[in-house]
Subunit: 227 residues, 2 copies
């Protein structure tokens, strides 16, 4: 049991080291030697847990998927309207990107691989699906115009968020990300909400989740729950 | 003179080969050997014109910059309101990404390098600056609400476009890009235009430039105008 726990700690350390290197140098740029060094491990320890850099990348994308699903669930359990939950989702994605190295590495790998056909659609689809469900509810709740098509709208929101964070990364090292996400909603809300609901826009823009979801990067002192 | 022309043709062929490979495999993924093969050249011919893969990448980003500036000028010369010109810019960017391998390679290299601190801000700033100038004029022309801050708005438009094209690439190989850009304006315009101008929204959404700017990829049969 102690041995199992030790193996899990080692594994989590490797994942954290890999996340750091992928975040810093990208999937193509990061070498296994650097990952081993960043994790403070031997190459043998790494190969005991992961067969290749590809497997590490897949694990990080899977971990990011787990975090996404947990985030959507945590937000769904809050007392908030659907449109507020969509705003919460965007700000929670932004917070995770800034604070969680696993999420940041997942985003970087995804963006890097997105440029060609082997690009993983999963991370985008997770968020688009969640946003679409909420948009459908927001129409029913009267906060979104009935003319808004939830699938197209969800695709736009996730697309816009993706690019807003890319530009924030390039021009401001993401220091202005929360502000830029807030501006996105400032420009968007008046055009997608019925005029009779406009009085609620300030409250909606201010919606934030109070149950932040943490990635496995925070599990480094305890056994990681890996498959 | 004939020799100079031949050198220019060779150079353009190399740039085109490099653009193809960068577009397909990214900056890190593309090798000089593959670029030489894609261009149908010898390694010697390549090294006569470019010292390294970095120099080729820089040349492609500079070429993309030249196309951007030419596009903004071509659109500025059209008889169209500033808000229509912003819509034209977005659709012209989309058209170029779909049709011009140099632009596509430039975008891919930029996105790949955007993920870390050596990311080139230039391509984003070109478009943000152009969009900001137009947004300032659109406020004066009464098509944008006076509450809209042109710098923040320009940054959001270019960010949103960047992500909309990323998601379109991953989920639909960019086949739906024009439609997604149109939807972006459908969601945005009602919230950023004064109600008294809403009757013009359909016309504004339909604005397209009629002087498409072509990249040097189209110069392959004639001497490229390189420095």
């Amino acid at each position: 049991m102690v041995q199992q726990q030790r193996a899990a700690v080692t594994r989590a350390q490797i994942v954290r080291g890999a996340a750091e290197m992928f975040d810093k140098s990208g999937f193509e740029g990061a070498s296994l030697v650097e990952i081993v060094e960043a994790a403070g491990m031997t190459k043998g320890a790494l190969y005991f847990h992961f067969n290749s850099k590809e497997e590490l990348a897949r694990h990080i994308i899977a971990e990011q998927h787990r975090i996404s699903i947990a985030t959507v669930q945590a937000i769904a359990e809050q007392e908030a309207s659907a449109i507020e939950q969509i705003v919460m989702l965007c700000h929670e994605m932004a917070r995770q990107i800034v604070q969680d190295p696993i999420v940041r590495a997942g985003i970087r790998i995804t963006l890097e691989l997105s440029a060609d056909d082997r690009g993983p659609a999963g991370p985008y689809l997770d968020w688009i699906t969640a946003c679409q469900t909420l948009a459908t509810r927001a129409v029913v709740e009267g906060d979104l115009l009935t003319s808004i098509d939830p699938p197209s709208f969800a695709r736009f929101v996730i697309g816009a968020f993706t690019g807003v964070q890319t530009v924030s990364q390039v021009l401001a090292h993401r220091t202005d990300l929360e502000q830029r996400v807030d501006q996105m909603w400032m420009f968007l809300l008046p055009g997608i909400m019925p005029a009779t609901r406009h009085h609620g826009m300030t409250r909606i823009r201010a919606a934030r989740t109070n149950v932040p979801v943490t990635g496995s990067s925070d599990h480094q002192d305890q056994p990681a729950t890996t498959n």
